[in-house]
Amino acid sequence: MQPSDDVLRDIHRRMVRIRIFEQEAGKLMEAGKIPGALHLYVGEEAVAAGVMVHLSDADQITSTHRGHGHLIAKGGEFHKMFAEIFGRVDGYCKGKGGSMHISDMQIGMLGANGIVGAGPPIAVGAAFTNKFKKSGNVAVSFFGDGASNEGSVHEAANMAALYKLPIVFICENNGYGEYTPQAHHQAIVDVADRARGYGMPGVVVDGMDAVAVYEAAGEAIKRARAGEGPTLLECKTYRFFDHVGVRGMGLSYRSDDELAKWQQRDPITLFEATLIEQNIVSAEEAKVVHDKVEAEVQAGIEFAEASPMPDPAALLDDVYK
């Protein structure tokens, strides 16, 4: 599944959107402007972008605590995102959810989730709806290497394969669950090895290579839409920031060397270089993309800062319908 030039440009744009949003969010957090916890997606952009470019607004995704990248790649709007993570009333969740629960039901983004491993069973439900309604839509569930050890992921994978649901499981293996390296949380190297135990294909792909992700995700999504059942696609990636925020708790659980090594494979730098080399975008055009996104991010921040805090009178709204 070779991506067209337009698709490549689209992927690029989505990656840049994630990167700049997250960098700014990180700064704002360090400046004390964002309450609560913020799990940033910087370094992993190729995964969200390479997958989401295959999806329409009617396809659903479930996300993780590290959800901004998924929402942005799915088409989320900066101003509502900033407003939400600032806790403002114009945010996606009227300020009630924050970063860990950011969501946009309109475009099938069924929520970031503060519970590790909670997404896959919900995605199974969305895929069930797709099959029930014969809508042709697909559900995609993102989860981490750490999450792969939750029983919920096991149950969801088994059910998806059993019912041949239109769903793709994307394991974003960034080598760590919080501060615990993969080798300390599982005795395997490839989470995709678990696929066979459910009766679905397991595929490993370089999560720093947007085209590789695009192609593998495309296959999996095609299979799902064709009624051939789920795929477990593992993307090997890395987060450039700490588990929470930018610098996290200042623990030395991973080496500077390791980080540097992965940063040399920055998915955006790599991808942009290829695009320019292949004359798909010029260096100038790439810069325009960055600048535009930058401006949009700033506009989003301004919007969010101008948005009021929710009225305490709204405290008990939306508990029930």
Binding site: Q60, T62, G91, Y92, C93, K94, G95, K96, G97, H101, S103, D104, M105, Q106, L110, G111, N113, G114, I115, A118, P120, P121, I122, A123, V124, G125, A126, A127, F128, T129, N130, F132, K133, A139, G151, S152, E155, A156, N158, M159, L162, D317, D318, V319, Y320, K321
Partner: protein, 334 residues
Amino acid sequence: MAESKTQPEARELTYVAAINEAVRAVLTEQPDAFVAGEDVAGAGSVFGYYKGLLEEFGAERVIDTPISEEGIVGLGVGAAATGLRPIIDIMFMDFMGECMDEITNQMAKMRYMFGGTAYLPITVLTMSGAGISMAAQHSQSLEAWLCHLPGLKVVMPATPYDAKGLIISASRDDNPVFVVLNKMSLGMKGEVPEDSYTVPIGEASIVRPGENFTIVTYSRMVHESVKAAEALSSLGVETEVVDLRSLQPLDTNVVIESVKRTHRAMVVHEAVRFGGMGGEIAAQIQELAFDYLDAPVARVGAPFSPVPFSPQLEQSYIPNADKIVAEARTLLDV
């Protein structure tokens, strides 16, 4: 939700048949409704709730699942969030521990966390209660966990009539509703109209009027309380028995009005007394009717132990009419 109380006809059904009829009605009325759970299709549930429904509605709408409670509830949450109206079966309420995260952190909170942009029309059917020597892991009444979770509704029908009407109400409700059934009641008979009717969620019913004493109860303990009321009657105490039917929302009005008339009250449930819903209800009664109370609000519930297996031990564990009477006599000094 429209309330549609119909005239009860002279047709009797068992509790389990009423459940079956309710689910059949829901599947008939609501094209987006489906049933999923362990052994709900081929076997029609180990309690028999869904007998015949697979044949009638097909394998796309009556679905056997793996033994994966967290996955099953997750399936319900995801399906509800994307436009279906799931009826999810958790065989025994005791198994909720396996899916309490999906219940607590997803089902109950999704709407609120998302600022009202989602809603989850899920009905969960599950089974509570002791009495048939199923021992500690198959006999619990854990409704207190659910009632403490904003975002959920909880109903516990005592009769076939209410079982049917509450299940239909639950499945027309756009919120998650737990319908907690009772295993000792499965064979109990009662009048059940044939048509699709609702019992409104959040409305208690006075199943026996009385002027001297109020018993507030729900589920199977309604019948034990009525029995106790008869016994108390012969001692000169006329007991009003309030069947809450819904625990969340709780019909505080009916309870308080009754207590204001009778001046003495007791809450009865099968769940462990300590930390059970009786505490909440007793606390509310004394908050809202303090000046009307001539005695403390008493509580009858199970003692503080797991449910024992051995039949006699189990009988000495479960609240019943005798224990209610004994407690009432102490309270009322009769």
